[in-house]
Every structure is written in structure tokens, then in C-alpha cells.
């Protein structure tokens, strides 16, 4: 079982869209996939038309792992399940801080629910917190969408520094460019600079700014389903193709 996270310290960078579309691609490739929505705004569940779970409150996720299993919903797409978010998640940081051994809790909870899955994708809330730290430890890869602007450069540096400080391996981080507007000089120059600075750590594939992605809120489906021939769908496909070899081996959907 492999766990990856989609994380950004800022909102509105295409994090949830990436989690949704990559989860769909992963399942379509034959991996039994669970998309966990840890973000209180609950957007990834919304895109799959899954209602938030009333069963799951904050303490249950971490004290009764079987509750996680009960809250899981099968999506309309083969091999893909969703763990919808719950508004109570916003209190996680406070709760976790009070708990001992909190770092391993998330891993345990996921393992209990994750016995069935080849791949778990965590859609993270846009902040640095104990939950985020838990996520960084549980995940083998952390996907970081980056809009190629100067501010994003700084944020990315801060994230790497945080990893260094807390003893997490930088190799886990998989930054990629998101919402790219290739006609903008700023974007092109920033991308060149970041590629030079981070080298092979940055993915080659990038997600363009796209109205198709914006329309996911109307379509309520992955772009690979609703707009399969779009540039957006092709771009997510390219990201997945680059990401897949970095993950552990898959097993076929039964």
C-alpha cells in the first residue's frame, strides 16, 4: 500500500483538482485507490458527488479505525473509493496536539482502512499543522502544485526548509507546475529558474490554467471523464505517467 499526499500551503493552486484527477487515473490504471479528503472544505468529495460523512467526527478517525471503513464511499468509477471530509476535521490540529504519539496515529488509521487499497491519496488542507506533519510522515510522496510566480518560489523554499528542520526527507517532495499560463513571461521565467534550482525534483509535465478544470465544479466528474480530449485531461495524464514509476508496484483491480 502506497500513500501519497497532495499538499500546498496556499489555497487555489489546483491541489484538489490534481488529487481528483490523479486518483481517477490511478484507479483506471488498475490500482485500487482511496482518495481521502482531509480538507474541511470538502471539495474532492463534492467533485465525486459524495456527500460528507456524518459518521466521522474528529476523534473517531483516530481512535476507532473501523469508523474510517464505514465512512468510505465507492465512487462511480471502477477501483476508486472516496473518504469524504467532515467539517470537524478543522479541529484536528488542536486535538492531535493533545494526543501522545499523534504522528503515528494517522498512519495506523489509514492502514486499518487501507488493507483493501493499493494507493491512498490524501487531499490535505492548505496549512502547516500537526495534521500536515502527520501526512508528511505517512506519505511516501508529497505532490506540491506550484503556480510559477515569485511568491510560490518562496513558499516552496519554506516547505523544503520545514522538511529539513523536522527530519523529513526532501526526496518525498514532488513539486509540479500548476495553473500555468505559458503566454506570461513571469510564468516562463519562474519555471526556468525553478527547474534549474530543483532539477529533476520538479516534474516535467505541467498543468495549464484551463477553463475545463474550472468547470469541474459543474461537471462534478474528473476531466478525464467529462472532457477526455481536453488539454487539461492530457496534462493530468502526463503528470500521472511521470508519477507512476515513482510509486510502488500495483496490483490489479479484482
Amino acid at each position: 500500500m502506497t500513500t501519497i499526499a497532495c499538499y500546498s500551503n496556499k489555497g487555489g493552486v489546483g491541489k484538489t483538482a490534481a488529487a481528483v484527477n490523479l486518483a481517477h487515473l490511478a484507479a483506471a490504471s488498475g490500482r485500487r485507490t482511496l482518495l481521502c479528503d482531509l480538507d474541511p472544505q470538502g471539495a474532492s468529495g463534492f467533485y465525486f458527488r459524495v456527500k460528507p460523512s456524518s459518521k466521522l467526527t474528529r476523534d473517531r478517525l483516530f481512535t476507532k479505525a473501523d469508523r474510517v471503513a464505514e465512512a468510505i464511499r465507492e465512487s462511480d468509477y471502477p477501483g476508486l473509493d472516496i473518504l469524504p471530509s467532515n467539517l470537524s476535521f478543522r479541529d484536528f490540529d488542536v486535538f492531535l496536539a493533545a494526543m501522545k504519539n499523534s504522528r503515528s496515529r494517522l498512519k495506523k488509521a489509514l492502514k486499518a482502512a487501507g488493507a483493501d487499497y493499493d494507493l491512498i491519496i490524501l487531499d490535505c488542507p492548505p496549512n502547516i499543522s500537526t495534521l500536515s506533519e502527520n501526512v508528511f510522515r505517512a506519505a511516501s510522496r508529497v505532490l506540491v502544485p506550484v503556480i510559477p510566480t515569485t511568491l510560490s518560489e518562496r513558499t516552496l523554499e519554506q516547505l523544503h526548509a520545514f522538511f529539513d528542520e523536522t527530519g523529513l526527507s526532501r526526496k518525498k517532495l514532488v513539486p509540479f507546475f500548476s495553473m500555468v499560463q505559458a503566454q506570461k513571461v513571469l510564468h516562463r521565467e519562474t519555471m526556468a529558474r525553478l527547474r534549474e534550482g530543483y532539477g529533476a525534483a520538479m516534474l516535467e509535465a505541467a498543468i495549464p490554467f484551463s477553463a475545463d478544470i474550472e468547470k469541474m465544479g459543474e461537471d462534478r466528474a474528473p476531466v478525464g471523464v467529462s472532457r477526455p480530449r481536453s488539454a487539461a485531461a492530457r496534462a493530468y495524464g502526463a503528470v500521472w505517467a511521470e508519477l507512476e514509476p515513482k510509486l510502488a508496484r500495483k496490483s490489479k483491480i479484482a
Binding site: F48, R49, V50, K51, E70, A71, I72, R73, E74, D76, D81, R220
Partner: protein, 517 residues
């Protein structure tokens, strides 16, 4: 989309109606996920109904066979075109599920029609699918059944349960056959007896049932679907002839003689083909009996059997399709189509129970006398006679079993059956030995002769290389069968003691002695 459904299903008699679902889950609606265009299907079974006997249904369509089990599972397998028997199927769950079907029997078509599969999604107000329904609609001859498989989605258990409760279930796989192939004639019907039957009632019921089987097996023999049609045909004739031969006094002697001759003539036409079928079916066993060096000779022997068999089959098929056969068969059947049946003999109206008791006691006594007389010095002919007595006793026990009650005669049949098995093996060995000795050598159908009948390389008939190989193999086989017959004879003698035991005598005596009219 798959053209079949798998997993646990339930059956609906008739077409599917989405209205029931809408009522079960307010606010939800159905959407058509996928649909396959209708395609032809056939409903299959073996001649003896082994598939429906096992509470299953078997469907063939588009190169796939589907088994619907009594538990509601649908198993599927790709099957090569022209597959007719179990052995033609690939190994797997479908073949395993059909294991109760005899390997010798072919599958025949009970009904033909069209099947259409669809997948329906049940969605909530958000447009989220909460459950899926796979439907397989089978239509034949104006009737329709639908197989439904309701699929849960993880996390939507409540919806699944509500839907499952709302979907009716019409019954098991038997319902498929009943609706799509109504009016299916049972080819091996049980004799139907009235209350308080007379001797004539029993006789006529058995004969009528036998006539049905005879009739129903004709097409299968003519078309050479498998060897068991002929076997079933002969078993039916045998039962009829047993009644004619053993039920004394039921008809006037003139009628009885006519029936005996008539059915006997029909039976006589079938013997040779059955013998050849049995040889060919036992081929492997024969090869095991002689060393490998003699196998080429056996190959020749069996090649001849196969050729003879083909000729016999053609001849029998011609006969069965001839007006002479139809006239003979219908002439005999006509006796029993008249209300009341053929003319009544002196015992016709005797109540069956006392009639049977007297008949069975007499036959039992004869069998015991014959059995008790056998010792190591007794000639083989007497052992064969015992076999005949035992066979007649068995036929009577089976014929009258319904009259005495289904379980009453079982303890009597058991020791008799054991004796018959040993006698049967003895008889097989004798018959085979005699038959092999009768095979002519150098009869002009060998590779060692040219068209003018001269042996090749200047040799005379009967001395070609093939002839020698054949002769050697026949000789070896004969020797083995001879030995087998002798050792089997010893086993027969050992088995007699069991049949002659006092407990057996007491049980027969208690059932039949002094119970006659």
C-alpha cells in the same frame, strides 16, 4: 459491457419494471448505464434433464455458456463452437458446476430465443450512483424471464438493502426452464398408477412410460447425438419386454405372444450397434489388458469396430425413419392407447398387491433354487441361468416398487443387486470372449490384400502383416478375458452365500410369502 452477468442473481418472471425501485428510494431515479443489443441464445440440457435435476439452468450464447445455479450464482465460460459434451468444455467453474451431467451425454436445445443485457444505475439527488442493477432478459416463444443482479456500492448499504427488499424473486433456475420451455416432455417418465391399481394397471403404466421413452429417443439415435439415446431406448424396451414376459395372466395368450414378438423384433434391431458402442466406449480398458507390443493389433481391431459401428448406425437410422418401423411401433402402441388397454386376461383385474406378492415369491424361490445349486463343478451355463433369474426378480421388484411403497422393497433389492453385479461381470467377460472369437480374420478388409483379393507380396489371405498383428492381439485379449471369466466365476460363488443368508430369506418371506390372492 459484458453480455452476461455474474455474481448472485435473483429471477424475475417477466420483464423488469423500474417503478418498484423508484418506490423503494424516494428522490432517486434510474439511469441506463449500458445496454447490449439482443442476441440469440439457446437453453440447453442433457436428454435426461440432469441440469434441471440439479436445480440449474444452462444457457449458450455467442460462444459462451452460462450456468445459473440454485444458489443464484451465474457462472460463465468461453466454450469452443460445436461443444456438445462436458469433455468439450474447458476446465473451470462452469464445467465443475455441471459435474452431475453424464460425460457420455450430449447437450440438446430445449428452447431458443433472444437475450438482452443492460446495466442500470440508481442515482441519488446529487447524481451519485448508489447501486447498480445488471439485467439479463431472456425471451423465447413469447415468454420472458429476467435475471437480476443487484450490486452494492461500498458505503451505500442502506440503499442496497432498501432496493433488495423491493425486488421480487420469482424462484430458482427451474423457473427459467418452466417458462421458456413449457410443455417439455419428461423423456423418462415414471409410470403413473391409479389408486388401488390392478395387475393390468401396473403393466400398462410401465409399458406406456416405456413407449414415451422409446419415442423420445428416436431422434437422438438417428442424429447420433450420443451413445446414451440408444441405451435409454433399449432400457425402455427391456422394461416393456420384462412386463410382457413376466406378468402372467394379464393378457390373453394371443395378445401376449403378439406383444412379445413385436417388441422383441424392435429390440433385435438395436443389439449390434449397442455392442459396438460399448466396445468403443471401453477402448482404453482393452488397451490396458494387453502389453504395448500388441497395441497395433488392437488399433486394427478398433478401427474395424469403428467402421462397423458407423455402418450399423446408418442402418439403424434408416430403419428408425422407415415407414415399417413407424407402423410396427405404432401398431404396438395402439394396444395401449385404447381406453382400458389391450384385452384382459384372467389376472388382469387382480389387485396389484397380492398379484405382485405371488409373482415375486415364485420368482424368488426359483432364484434361490438356482443359486443354491451352484458349486465349483457346476457348468457355466447354470451360472448364466442364475443371472437370468436374478434379472427377472429385479425387474419385478422394480416394477412393483410403487405398489408396495417406495422404501419397502429396498432391503430386498440390496443383496440381489450385489449378486447381480458379480454375475454381470462374469457375463461381460463371457460375452466379450465369445464375441472376440467370432471376429473373422483375413476377411478381405485388411491392408494385406489388393483389389483382386490377392494378398500383397504374393501371400495368401489371412497372412498379411496386419492380419498377424490382429490375430496376436485377439489371442492375447481372449486369454486375458478367459482368465478374468474364471476368477469372476469364483467371486460369484463367494457372493452367493450372502444372497442365500437367512436374513435375506426372512425379509423376502415376510414381504411376499402367503400374500398372494
Amino acid at each position: 459491457m459484458q453480455a452476461y452477468i455474474q455474481g448472485t442473481t435473483r429471477l424475475l418472471a417477466g420483464p423488469f419494471d423500474a417503478g418498484a425501485l423508484a418506490a423503494a428510494l424516494p428522490g432517486h431515479r434510474t439511469v441506463e448505464d449500458a445496454a447490449d443489443p439482443p442476441r440469440p441464445f439457446r437453453l440447453l440440457d442433457s436428454f435426461d434433464g440432469a441440469v434441471r435435476g440439479a436445480d440449474q439452468a444452462l444457457i449458450e450464447s455467442g460462444g459462451r455458456w452460462l450456468v445459473v445455479t440454485g444458489a443464484g450464482a451465474v457462472l460463465a465460460a468461453e466454450v469452443p463452437k460445436g461443444a456438445r459434451r462436458l469433455a468439450d468444455l474447458p476446465e473451470g467453474p462452469v464445467r465443475d458446476a455441471l459435474s452431475q451431467v453424464s460425460a457420455l451425454r450430449s447437450f440438446r436445445t430445449l428452447a431458443e430465443g433472444r437475450m438482452a443485457s443492460r446495466r442500470i444505475g440508481i442515482v441519488d439527488e446529487e447524481g451519485k450512483t448508489v447501486a447498480r442493477l445488471d439485467l439479463l432478459a431472456l425471451t423465447a416463444g413469447g415468454a420472458e424471464v429476467t435475471l437480476m443482479a443487484l450490486r452494492a456500492l461500498r458505503g451505500y448499504g442502506a440503499a442496497f438493502r432498501a432496493l433488495a427488499a423491493a425486488l421480487p424473486a420469482a424462484g430458482g433456475p427451474g423457473e427459467i426452464t418452466a417458462r421458456l420451455a413449457p410443455g417439455l416432455i419428461d423423456p423418462k417418465p415414471q409410470p403413473v398408477l391409479p389408486d388401488d391399481p390392478t395387475a393390468a394397471d401396473v403393466a400398462h403404466a410401465i409399458i406406456r412410460a416405456g413407449l414415451v421413452t422409446m419415442r423420445e429417443t428416436e431422434a437422438g439415435i438417428v442424429e447420433d447425438r450420443d451413445t446414451e439415446y440408444l441405451h435409454d431406448h433399449r432400457v425402455a424396451l427391456r422394461r416393456i419386454r420384462a412386463v410382457v414376459g413376466l406378468f402372467q395372466g394379464v393378457w390373453p395368450e394371443e395378445t401376449r405372444a403378439e406383444l412379445k414378438a413385436g417388441f422383441g423384433a424392435l429390440m433385435a434391431r438395436t443389439g449390434r450397434l449397442r455392442d459396438l458402442d460399448v466396445y468403443l466406449l471401453d477402448r482404453a480398458a482393452f488397451f490396458d489388458l494387453v502389453p504395448a507390443s500388441l497395441h497395433p493389433g488392437l488399433d486394427l481391431l478398433f478401427a474395424r469396430f469403428a467402421k462397423d459401428r458407423a455402418a450399423e448406425r446408418r442402418a439403424l437410422a434408416r430403419w428408425l425413419q422407415s415407414p415399417d418401423y413407424a407402423a410396427a411401433r405404432d401398431g404396438l402402441a395402439a394396444h395401449f392407447n385404447v381406453p382400458g388397454g389391450p384385452p384382459h386376461g384372467p389376472e388382469a383385474d387382480t389387485p396389484a398387491l397380492p398379484y405382485a406378492s405371488a409373482l415375486l415369491w415364485r420368482r424368488y424361490r426359483k432364484t434361490v433354487t438356482a443359486a443354491a445349486a451352484i458349486g465349483p463343478e457346476t457348468p457355466d451355463e447354470e451360472v448364466h441361468e442364475l443371472r437370468i433369474h436374478a434379472k427377472k426378480l429385479r425387474y419385478l421388484l422394480e416394477a412393483f416398487a410403487p405398489v408396495f411403497g417406495p422404501k419397502a422393497l429396498r432391503p430386498l433389492v440390496k443383496p440381489l443387486k450385489a449378486l447381480q453385479e458379480e454375475l454381470g461381470l462374469f457375463n461381460d467377460a463371457s460375452v466379450q470372449r465369445a464375441a472376440l472369437q467370432a471376429i473373422p480374420l483375413g476377411d478381405g478388409r485388411k491392408a494385406g490384400r489388393d483389389k483382386a483379393g490377392r494378398g500383397k507380396a504374393g501371400r495368401g489371405p489371412g497372412h498379411g502383416k496386419d492380419d498377424l498383428a490382429l490375430a496376436a492381439s485377439l489371442g492375447a485379449l481372449t486369454a486375458v478375458l478367459d482368465q478374468r471369466q474364471r476368477s469372476q466365476r469364483q467371486r460369484v460363488e463367494a457372493g452367493l452365500a450372502q444372497f442365500l443368508a437367512p436374513e435375506v430369506r426372512d425379509s423376502y418371506s415376510a414381504q411376499f410369502r402367503h400374500k398372494g390372492a
